[in-house]
């Protein structure tokens, strides 16, 4: 199985007698822990997508009237749904945490000649997360 054909390398100068082109095997990401971790992060975005779909479904159900919403609620409390949601929550949390730890790369704040250290930037992100989640919980449970 090949991801791309060698003729994709037409960008290269043609004068060579013969270049040897190595092709990435389909399971290249199993060879190294770092690449595996990266693919895992990519895959966990499915869980994030799942939550987006659920949100749309909930809004839709509320729009349809209280009966549909109650159907939805009862499905949600079924053991299967709880298991699915717990898995999705774990995956989405993994996804969020990896993104927060990458945040300092995207946000560089320089004060004078010094750059604000990465852990402070991640820390600020986590802080914002906790505050916002707390606010939401308070709003819905009060």
């Amino acid at each position: 199985m090949k991801f791309f054909k060698p003729d994709q390398y037409t960008i290269y100068y043609k004068g060579y007698p013969k270049l040897y082109i190595r092709v990435k095997p389909i399971f290249w990401w199993l060879k190294k822990w770092t690449s595996f971790r990266f693919i895992l992060r990519e895959l966990t975005s499915l869980a994030v997508g799942y939550y987006a779909v659920i949100l749309i479904l909930i809004i839709n159900a509320i729009n349809q009237g209280s009966e549909t919403f109650q159907d939805f609620q009862s499905w949600f409390s079924s053991p299967l749904a709880i298991i699915i949601n717990l898995i999705a929550l774990a995956l989405a949390t993994y996804h969020s945490i990896t993104w927060f730890s990458l945040a300092p790369k995207a946000m560089v704040i320089q004060i004078g000649e010094k750059k604000v250290p990465g852990f402070l930037i991640s820390g600020m992100n986590y802080g914002a997360w906790v505050v916002l989640s707390g606010a939401l919980i308070w709003f819905f449970l009060k």
Binding site: Y13, G15, Y16, P17
Partner: protein, 583 residues
Amino acid sequence: MGQFEKYSHDVLIVGGGGAGLRAAIAVAEADPNLNVAVISKVYPMRSHTVAAEGGAAAVIKQDDSMDLHAYDTISGGDWMCDQDAVEAFVREATEEMIQLEHWGCPWSREDNGSIAVRPFGGMKIKRTWFASDKTGFHMLHTLYQTSLKYDPIQRYDEWYVTQLIVEEGKCQGVIAIELATGDIQAIAAKSVIITTGGCGKVFPFTTNANIKTGDGMALAYRAGVPLKDMEFIQYHPTGLPFSGILITEAARAEGGHLVNKDGYRYLQDYDLGTPQPEPVLRSMELGPRDRLSQAFIKEAEKGKALEGEYGHYVNLDIRHLGEKKINSKLPFVRELCLKYENIDPVKEMIPVRPVVHYMMGGIHTDINGATTLPGLYAAGETACVSINGANRLGSNSLTELLVFGARAGKSAAENAKKQAAPKIDHLGYAVAERKRLNDQYLDTKKGDEKLSVIRKEMHKTMEEGAGIYRTEDSLKKSQKVITELRERFKKVSIEDHSLAFNTELIAAIELSNMLEIADTIIHSALNRKESRGSHQRTDYKERDDKKFLAHSLAYSTGEGSPKIDYLPVTITKWPPGERVYGK
């Protein structure tokens, strides 16, 4: 012409380091219609300019003057510098450096945003511009990246020049191998500029990169151009003992101390001043490089140096500068020590010993980079103008690249505009060169001498015979060995017979170049019966201005030894005097 049309240029620059790129830009700016090409055996950003650390000198501060820079340079060079060249150099240095700043070089700055300068060895006033301690790296990448802006500049990356084409008494191009394919082409040019750097690899223990094999010097020399002042080789006083990795002079300029095995700042015993806690200009550790390297040898002879696996060494102590200053001013020193020597200079002393660093001599050129062969120019370490005399002042060489790279570029462009396009037999040259290389290196019947064996013996004899201190005896012995090696080299055969990227073939041609250059070094040193700057003869201890206030010129005689001639030094304002440091 047809198929060879693309192998024809107005100006062809051999070498893609600082001088070569500066020259290329100068040509492109002189006239955008000129077709200029840079040919180099490595991609330009691999060139050895990249390894320069400490800085580049140019007058910029109020308390400085052109005359002071000139005097430091001339006295540092033990009055072997041509003073008209030095005056032109210091005059144009500042503008060239500002130009590089405008092109984006990340010079270190003062708080108000103006250029910061640091002290350097042999200087009365601070005038060394620096980009922390990776000045050469930043200068080279700035020049390389800026050169990408100029569409007329074409490049032959990883092509190796094997010969100059000389017809009708003019240089008309080069013959070169494309490394990737093994293809050989004759490339025509109205002007050729050689900017291939020095030849430190003639010696075993050097700060120089693997590519510094004096190719350009050998090309010019074989084409009949003399090599000037080849006996003057600079030993940098502070290299790491095994690898020869350079610990920049900036380490001493920022306040580092050289101490012997008793922790004593031994330079005070060698007429270099008295130790002060703070660095003093033109004194002690900030003396000129030749004197510091010589002091090391004397100290070792007294038994005061430390004894290591790779010979004697002394310690460079920068611990008292503190971690903060080391990280901001000397981060590369720390990185190199940590990575290559497993020591942290914040906590430990750095073992150092003198190491071959720079060739003051080179292809004889005039003040505009022109050689004695019409159409051929040279600039940078490969050339000898001469502004470096018998001992180059630290931080002048990076500036020299710019000033004389630009000058050579301009004059080569002028020349190209006057010349008609050369009509050379492209195919004929290529076929003949293929045959020559096959006969010389690939014919296994001739003998079985090994490259590495001959190289090692050359290294050994050059270190023994033509090191920091030389005598008639040591030089004669080396002369004999080099003559033998040149003979044995004819029987060399290489294992790699492939066309594509034949690095062994290139190494063989490089070794043939180095053997010829070694010969010129030995002969020039043998004939100079005096001691001056970096050339110290224990059998002729004094400087002899009556006989030797003159540049030596080594001419090729083909198979035989070089013929040595002399050319008087140009003196304008500064008559020969005593070199005084530490007072």
